[in-house]
């Protein structure tokens, strides 16, 4: 038996909202990165679910792309966080606001 596509969408929404709440409320940069990761994966769930639903592989292919992109993003993000830590001795995102203008 197959799970109805609505449940996938509900799951994806839940995961996305958790990620979003993480970005909106957290101050730790690492948690930011994880939250972004959650949102990306929420999108992936959607892509794969609809690909399965339509019997079309395009979604899966894009999910692969997203994963590659996420990996790259994590790499860059971690790099930035490392530099941040080295300069500010902290990974709190509210500290380096002096770099805004």
């Amino acid at each position: 038996m197959t799970v109805a596509v609505e449940y996938y969408v509900l799951l994806s929404m839940a995961v996305f909202c958790i990620g979003l709440m993480g970005v909106l409320t957290r101050r730790n940069a690492l948690l930011f990165l994880m939250s972004v990761e959650l949102m990306l994966n929420a999108a992936n769930i959607n892509l794969i679910a609809f690909a399965f639903y339509h019997g079309n592989l395009t979604g899966q292919v894009f999910a692969l792309f997203t994963m590659a992109l996420a990996a790259a993003e994590v790499a860059v993000g971690l790099g930035i966080i490392l530099v941040l830590y080295r300069n500010f001795r902290d990974v709190d995102v509210t500290v380096p606001t002096t770099m805004r203008w």
Binding site: V23, L24, T94, T97, T98, R100, W101
Partner: protein, 681 residues
């Protein structure tokens, strides 16, 4: 009869080019040369003089020359009289008038160069190459101006002599006063030249030509336009000729130091006395009057313009003469007398007395150059003291200077038979006969006549204070000697001042019925002439009526007697007051008038006020306006952008959290908006 390029006239350009070469040589090599550039100058002016005399002789032989040599600029125009092409060119016009003037200019220039050896070199001046170079450039420009065949070329060299005047007045640039006087001289004459340039542009735009002579000249074109009743620039031809004529007159008034643009000339005495003699007495100042003579045919078309010339001339003659009465500086007296004498020439020109005006121009060039050089000799004698009250008794110490100076003074005062008498008398006679019919001219005549008395007075006041009485200072007791280079030019000019008047003995000719008015014949084309540029022709064109008291001869004798009497009266007054061993200042007797005269009728004050009290604050206000309002608007635009961005940029907090929140809020707002628009709810 207009000759073509052949014969002596093909050498005419050299007259001006010799001094130009001297200018270049003195400028480049002056430092290395013996006498610091005086030698090339003397040779060049001597060569110019010889060539000028040659030209004079050729004109006397019945030939004249009118030739375009070099096209400066040309193009298409749309003029009021329909000409479609115009060429501005350099060309020569050698007719009796210019040939005469060439001789005068090159002779005075030559003598001044010689005199400079004694006045500048022997006095150990520095910067002599600059001095001689400027003199060379001046002589070049002046000679080129004299034989210019068109108005634009005349204007160009008119401006260049102004430059040389600036350079030479400011010769002693290390002082404060000389650069200031130089600036003033250039500015005031520039103000006149502004009108002159408008006049040139207007005449060229109207008639499509700026030539002085020939069928293609603007004078002929103007005559035709008046006859045809053409409308020019919205005016009838007669009015337009008057307007343009008066515009050109602006330059004349500036250069010839006529009221109200005369204020620069007394200040110009800051320059070396040789310069005053050459430029500010004999030649450059004469350029204005010469220009009137040169385009007399044009002025002759407009009685209004002529009346204004006459009135300005008469007024200036009197006005300047009164100021000359109270001056203590010998050069200042001469400066005011120069202004006054040019007033006479203008008066003569303005009443149609072309010959009288030119005659006085010639005589004045000689006797005023003489007086200035004489005063230069006095200044050398006195170790550069110019105050007449510190002189006295120089008569016996420097006889040659005294007698030549006296000859000049007699000529200036107009005492028979010295040259000034003959020409001044002719001017006044011409003014009188026209004045008997025209009240404006009569007023001008009256002023000119009254000025004769003052002229006699200040001239002899100067002579008596300087040469007579007891020496009043130690330098006057034991003056510095002067060399041959100072004496020789004085003697030459002294002879000329005494004798040159005999070329046009009009009164004697009338009374005795002899043919001895040579200058009149000369200018009337008895020898050589250019069509349309003769006295005869001018006399026919001038529309003034002439009246006589009794017969012509009685009028003339009356006029001559009156002017001679007044001159003698002035001289006698000076004799009584100042020809005493210990002269005193009598100026206090003048009371309030003295203050006014001493301050030159406050002419300088109001002109300085115009420059410094009006224009400068106006400029400062403009600057303030520019910096605050105009630049303020520009800075305001950038300021407003900066201010706006300083507020907007606060959205950018630097917190990713806030950005994300904004994105979410924006997304929701978009969703809601689209939903409302799409009717989901």
């Amino acid at each position: 009869m207009v000759g073509t390029g052949a014969g002596p006239f093909s050498y005419a350009p050299a007259i001006a080019l010799f001094p130009l070469a001297a200018f270049v040589i003195s400028l480049v090599f002056g430092r290395q040369l013996p006498k610091k550039g005086a030698i090339p100058g003397i040779f060049a002016t001597a060569a110019s003089l010889l060539f000028s005399l040659w030209m004079f002789a050729t004109v006397a032989g019945g030939e004249t020359y009118h030739e375009t040599l070099y096209e400066w600029s040309a193009g298409a125009v749309t003029t009021e009289v329909g000409a479609e092409e115009i060429a501005f060119s350099f060309g020569l016009l050698i007719d009796p008038l210019s040939a005469l003037m060439l001789v005068i200019v090159s002779l005075v220039a030559f003598l001044v160069h010689v005199f400079s050896l004694g006045y500048m070199n022997d006095e150990g001046e520095t910067g002599l190459p600059r001095y001689y170079a400027s003199l060379g450039l001046f002589t070049f420009s002046m000679l080129a101006f004299v034989y210019a065949d068109n108005l634009l070329m005349a204007f160009m060299f008119f401006e260049l002599v102004g430059l040389c005047s600036y350079l030479l007045i400011g010769f002693w640039f290390r002082t404060k006063s000389a650069p200031s006087a130089a600036k003033k001289a250039f500015l005031v004459t520039r103000f006149g030249d502004y009108f002159f340039l408008i006049g040139v542009v207007a005449i060229a735009s109207t008639f499509g030509t700026v030539a002085f002579a020939g069928e293609e000249s603007f004078v002929v074109a103007a005559e035709t336009a008046i006859e045809d009743g053409t409308t020019l620039f919205g005016f009838d031809a007669q009015t337009w000729v008057t307007i343009t004529g008066l515009l050109v007159l602006g330059g004349v008034i500036g250069k010839s130091a006529q009221f109200p643009l005369h204020t620069w000339l007394p200040d110009a005495m800051e320059g070396p006395t040789t310069v005053s003699a050459l430029i500010h007495a004999a030649t450059m100042v004469a350029a204005g009057v010469y220009l009137v003579a040169r385009m007399f045919g044009y002025y002759a078309l407009s009685p209004t313009a002529l009346s204004i010339i006459a009135f300005v001339g008469g007024f200036t003659a009197l006005f300047a003469a009164t100021m000359g009465v109270v001056k203590d500086d010998i050069k200042q007296v001469l400066a005011y007398s120069t202004i006054s004498q040019y007033g006479y020439m203008m008066l003569g020109m303005g009443v149609g007395g072309y010959v009288a005006g030119v005659f006085h121009l010639m005589n004045h060039a000689f006797f005023k150059a003489l007086l200035f050089l004489g005063s230069g000799a006095v200044i050398v004698l006195m170790h550069h003291e110019q105050d007449m009250w510190k002189m006295g008794g120089l008569k016996d110490k420097a006889p040659i200077t005294y007698y030549t100076f006296l000859a000049g003074a007699l000529a200036l005062a107009g005492i028979v038979p010295f040259s000034g008498f003959w020409s001044k008398d002719e001017v006044l006679f011409d003014a009188l006969i026209v004045g008997l019919e025209e009240p404006v001219i009569l007023a001008a005549y009256a002023m000119g006549l009254l000025a004769v008395f003052f002229t006699g007075f200040y001239t002899f006041r100067m002579v008596f204070l300087t040469f007579h009485g007891e020496p009043r200072t130690e330098t006057a007791e034991d003056p510095h000697g002067v060399g041959w280079s100072i004496k020789a030019p004085l003697v030459v000019l002294g002879l000329l001042a005494a004798l040159v008047g005999f070329v046009n003995l009009a009164p004697i000719a009338k009374v005795a019925g002899m043919d001895i008015t040579f200058l009149e014949y000369w200018l009337d084309g008895e020898y050589g002439y250019v069509e349309g540029l003769t006295y005869h022709h001018y006399h026919e064109m001038v529309a003034f009526e002439e009246g006589y008291i009794g017969s012509e001869t009685t009028t003339m004798l009356l006029s001559a007697g009156l002017s001679l009497g007044l001159a003698l009266a002035g001289a006698f007054a000076a004799h009584t007051l100042y020809n005493v061993p210990e002269p005193k200042r009598h100026t206090t007797k003048l009371g309030g008038a003295y203050t006014v005269l001493r301050n030159n009728y406050y002419q300088d004050e109001y002109q300085v006020w115009l420059a410094e009290g009006l224009t400068l604050p106006l400029a400062r206000t403009a600057d303030l306006f520019d910096r605050s309002v105009i630049d303020g608007a520009v800075d305001g635009v950038s300021g407003a952008s900066l201010f706006g961005s300083s507020w907007v940029k606060r959205i950018q907090t630097g917190l990713v959290t806030n950005y994300a929140a904004l994105i979410v809020a924006g997304f929701i707002a978009l969703l809601l908006g689209l939903g409302l628009y799409g009717g989901w709810f």
